[in-house]
């Protein structure tokens, strides 16, 4: 492949090489699509870049994500948002979802998946939290890696985004982020490193600036770190339209493809080379990366097709069948993912699971009957249908049940319904108006300045009217369940003390409503655990001004910050209840000197009355001063009643290393490592051991 690419490169003229580095979709059509002024939606068809068919170089065909493939209308499978998939802690399932997405992309004629978002949410108010895998570097890295593997197994290129330091939405075009080296490497880049080393074929540079230089032009990030230090052999593409703002700076900064149309590259880049401002070797490197990666994945695709043919997914013409888009097996993955991602925060009584004896069920909250798959920016997927919570509930209740749905404000009527009902379900939370990629609010008028989505500034709680409703109706019905719908963390108000049962439903994708209903009625366990901490108050989290033009990221964030400050969480990271109980015993840990891994084994037994699932979690505190317990291993376990299993978890050296500030490299610190094993990040519930490295 390497040689083949070199051969092709030799035969290209400067203009042709620069041609590979150019996006071909007009600015007007993308923005028109986003604002709803054209007949097609954003990315309804793949967006092309580069390509030189004569010389045997296919064009890049970009398809966005991450909830599924954005292309098409009424067809693609819409999975739960990555935040919910992270709550499942299920890397095996994520890999399968990646493969499913890869297949659908191929069916649309695409060859690159722009949906592996692995930006770490420094603050849960970030509008696009839903697109990433939780607040912890290790969890993000593992889930991202699984997605990369899954997608790329089909021969579709996985593109990581947004590189880097992109966790503020409102000001993403302007903000300049700075932080110290340790924070940079351990907190914000480590998961990118992991995914790059897992073989990701493309990386998208971010809009914001880092240390004063736009990420799209940032030689430190793109050349030094990504290519040299990490040995990335794929290509880089810019975030669309405003990711590149200067021909020479971008080219010398390491940018490879200007997306999604070409303004600064193209003939201006040719001119810059001719004027000696950009060396031709820079162009050669960019072109080579593109050619090599396209050929490499062409090859993988051909191999993958052999397997797909056996599964009857290839047509007689040798193309992947269009019927894989939104096919049953993919939708079943989406359903399973949503079931595994529901987090049960509280369950007194126990109210859940609801028995079918509950014949009169009152449901409140307009989100119960709203198809709500997440934000409506570039991540929006257009599935054939979306099952709402009400529709899901109707499928699960007994035949003689009556479901009464009321979204009104008349409190006395709501109270009356609650008192008469056997069970009351209140759905509260957000939709795309409240959080997400910032979009024009009125999709039919291209107005500037009016938008929906964006960051949640100063709103980490439910809407006031939801809070009031919950306050006033809590306690009226002993079988009350609150379902929280959001893509990120919500701090529940005082009502949570009076409500017996609370379920986090996130944005569950096309089968979300069905999954939630199945969990409510006990058809399956609520499989999720919190991928972020819920603190007692917002002040326990780092301060972040989402409209600032310059921001310094601190080292401590999320649950790590709470541990560092010694603050108690309302609900800890990794927490979630099951419908059964588990016992942990026989925990052992040893350091494998030869392979430089920590091996943990533990026994788990299902001590409850029904089959259930849990997630065994391993937290490690390095010998470094000031270190706190951070998650470094997890595994999903399913056990029948009374069943007992031995679980093994290995922690790689990569995940134990810390950044050596003087030396400027990652290393494994020798000394005493503390290991906490349990079912959440709550240290009081752990088995704690020591391990000498």
């Amino acid at each position: 492949m390497y040689r083949q690419a070199t051969e092709i490169l030799k035969k290209l003229s400067l203009r042709e090489k620069v041609g590979l580095m150019s996006g071909h979709t007009s600015r007007k059509s993308i923005h028109g699509a986003l604002k709803g002024t054209t007949g097609v939606h954003y990315n309804e068809y793949p967006y092309s870049a580069g390509g030189n068919p004569e010389k045997g170089i296919p064009a890049v065909e970009f398809c966005d994500g991450p909830n599924g493939v954005v292309c098409g209308r009424g067809k693609s499978t819409c999975f739960p948002v990555p935040m919910m998939r992270a709550a499942s802690f299920d890397t095996e399932l994520e890999e399968k979802i990646g493969a499913a997405i890869g297949e659908e992309i191929l069916a649309y004629g695409g060859n690159l998946f722009g949906g592996v978002c692995i930006n770490l949410p420094y603050h849960p108010g970030w509008g696009r939290c839903q697109e990433t895998y939780g607040e912890d570097d290790f969890l993000i890295g593992e889930m991202g890696k699984a997605m990369v593997r899954g997608v790329q197994s089909t021969g579709v290129i996985a593109c990581l985004k947004h590189f880097a330091f992109n966790q503020m939405e409102n000001n993403r075009f302007r903000v300049n982020v700075v932080c110290d080296k340790k924070t940079e490497r351990e907190i914000f880049l480590r998961h990118f490193e992991k995914c790059v080393k897992a073989g990701a074929g493309a990386v998208m540079s971010a809009y914001n600036s880092y240390q004063g230089v736009m990420c799209g032009h940032n030689s430190y990030l793109l050349n030094d770190v990504l290519k040299e230090e990490w040995g990335f052999d794929g290509f880089i593409l810019s975030d669309f339209t405003w990711g590149v703002r200067d021909t020479v700076e971008a080219a010398n900064g390491g940018q490879n493809i200007e997306m999604a149309d070409t303004l600064y590259f193209g003939s201006r880049l040719v001119q810059a080379v001719q004027e000696g401002k950009v060396s031709e070797s820079v162009i050669d490197d960019a072109a080579f990366r593109i050619i090599y990666t396209m050929l490499r994945f062409d090859n993988i695709r051909r191999e993958a097709f052999k397997g797909l043919k056996k599964q009857n997914r290839i047509s007689t013409a040798g193309m992947i069948k269009k019927s894989v888009i939104g096919c049953k097996s993919h939708r079943q993955l989406a359903l399973r993912s949503a079931e595994e991602g529901c987090v049960l925060l509280k369950n007194e009584g126990p109210v859940l699971p609801l028995s079918r004896n509950n014949r009169k069920i009152a449901v409140f909250g307009r989100l119960a009957d709203t198809p709500n798959t997440g934000d409506r920016g570039s991540a929006r997927v257009y599935p054939e249908y979306t099952v709402t919570i009400i529709q899901g509930i109707l499928k699960e209740v007994s035949e003689d049940a009556e479901v009464i749905y009321y979204t009104g404000k008349n409190l006395s009527h709501a109270k009356r319904l609650m008192k008469e009902a056997d069970a009351a379900i209140i759905v509260a939370g957000y939709d795309y108006y409240d959080e997400g990629e910032a979009i024009s609010r009125d999709q039919s008028t291209p107005e500037k300045g009016s938008f929906a989505g964006g960051d949640r500034c100063g709103l980490l709680r439910l809407h006031e009217d939801d809070e009031e409703f919950l306050e006033k109706t809590a306690g009226l019905n002993s079988n009350t369940i609150v379902i929280l719908i959001a893509g990120s963390m919500i701090i529940p108000g005082k009502w949570i003390e009076k409500i017996p049962s609370v379920l986090y439903g996130f944005y569950g994708g096309m089968e979300g409503g069905r999954a939630i209903a199945r969990v409510l009625f006990g058809k399956c366990d609520p499989g999720g655990r919190l991928p972020f901490v819920i603190p007692e108050k917002e002040e326990d989290l780092p301060k972040l001004d989402f409209s600032a033009n310059e921001v310094r990221y601190q080292y401590w964030h999320g649950y790590r910050r709470l541990k560092h400050l010694g603050k108690k969480a309302m609900f800890p990271f990794g927490y979630g209840l099951s419908y059964t109980t588990f016992k942990l015993f026989g925990v052992e840990a040893e350091f494998d000197r030869e392979h430089l891994k920590i091996r943990i084994s533990a026994n788990i037994q299902n001590t409850g009355k029904r089959t259930g699932e849990t997630i065994l979690q391993v937290y490690v505190k390095t010998p470094e001063n000031d270190s706190v317990f951070c998650i470094k291993g997890f595994k999903r376990v399913k056990l029948e009643k009374d069943e007992e299993k031995e679980v093994q978890i290995e922690i790689e050296k990569f995940d134990l290393e810390i950044w050596n500030v003087e030396g400027g490299f990652f290393h494994l610190l020798p000394g005493k490592y503390n290991i906490g094993v349990g079912f959440s990040s709550d240290e009081k519930q752990w088995n704690i051991l020591e391990c000498l490295v």
């Binding site: 709803g36 002024t37 054209t38 007949g39 939606h41 009400i390 109707l394 499928k395 209740v397 007994s398 035949e399 003689d400 049940a401 009556e402 479901v403 009464i404 749905y405 009321y406 979204t407 009104g408 404000k409 008349n410 006395s412 009527h413 319904l417 039919s444």
Partner: protein
């Protein structure tokens, strides 16, 4: 999406809307499929729904939901506008299985949202029907749909969904009421109803007390008296014939019950009612009225609301 595709919708049957103005004397517990917009133009009317009694005066407006059992009693000289709308008009498509319950009753606490808009639509509909206006065909349909749109957009309502073929107590009650209407002539209709529905008399009593606040026996008596009133008013048949046709077991019982519920003897009632030359109407005890008076009252409402006529 900015492209718009407009389809003309063909109805296989025209869903019915019934609009009329009338004076109401009384109607024993009944129900109908249609949603009923009930508006008092003059006088006072008492409506009992479940166990709640509402007093509606001039200007009051109420939505009586589909299959909701209710009883109406009007004081002398009242005038009411009624619009009965087929629930089919509220359905989005054939698979729409929702039953919507509106909470719009200006005589009840906290149920006044959007009453003004509904009132204006109702007035237009009634004027179209009363006055035989030119081009009323279009205005009538437009106002009916606007009324429905306003209800769905602005009124307070909940949605009842059933997962399968469900017989809830309220639905069973409806069937039982119908049964009584069809079996008035039986000697012991309450007993036979129990047998027909497979429930004990004790349970039957419980259902009735919970939904209507009266016993099944009392309900049957009310039905019988109501039928008697119709016959007294609309026919020349003898009292003994009427007594038999309504299922009363003896003259003594007939007189006792009739007097108890109307305050008059059957004979006096007939004299009063027939003496003033009223015409028999099939619908529950609706009495005659002056169309001009009604139209004037309706226009008045529009004027006060600042609308052009």
């Amino acid at each position: 999406m900015s492209t718009y595709s407009f389809e003309t919708i063909e109805y296989k049957k025209i869903p019915s809307v019934n609009a009329f103005v009338t004076c109401i004397e009384s109607s024993v517990y009944h129900w109908h499929y249609q949603y009923e917009i009930f508006m008092v133009l003059k006088g006072c009317v008492r409506i009992k729904i479940d166990t709640e009694m509402y007093e509606l005066k001039k200007g009051d407006l109420m939505v009586i939901n589909t299959r909701t059992i209710h009883e109406v009693k009007g004081e002398a000289g009242n005038l009411c506008g009624l619009i009965q709308i087929d629930p089919e008009l509220f359905k989005l498509d054939d698979s729409d299985k929702r039953t919507i319950r509106f909470f719009l009753n200006t005589a009840a606490e906290g149920e006044k949202t959007c009453a003004e808009e509904i009132r204006i639509h109702a007035v237009w509909i009634l004027l179209c029907v009363l006055e035989n206006r030119k081009d009323a065909f279009y205005r009538l349909r437009s106002e009916v749909y606007s009324l429905i749109a306003d209800l769905m957009e602005r009124a307070d309502y909940d949605v009842v969904l059933k997962s399968g073929k469900v017989i809830t107590v309220s639905e069973e009650m409806i069937s039982i009421l119908d049964y009584f209407r069809d079996h008035l002539l039986e000697e012991r209709p309450v007993e036979s109803a129990g047998r027909a529905f497979g429930i004990s008399e004790k349970t039957l009593l419980r259902y009735f007390k919970a939904s209507l606040g009266i016993s099944p026996k009392d309900f049957v008596n009310k039905l019988r008296v109501e039928k008697a009133k119709q016959l007294l008013r609309g026919t020349d048949k003898e009292i003994s014939f009427i007594m038999d046709s309504c299922g009363f077991q003896s003259e003594k019982t007939f007189y006792r019950l009739f007097q108890g519920l109307t305050g008059q003897t059957p004979g006096n009632y007939r004299k009063k009612v027939q003496g003033e030359g009223r015409v028999n109407q099939e619908i529950q005890d609706y009495l005659d009225f002056e169309p001009f008076e009604a139209a004037a009252l309706l226009r008045d409402i529009l004027l006060k609301a600042g609308k052009e006529i």
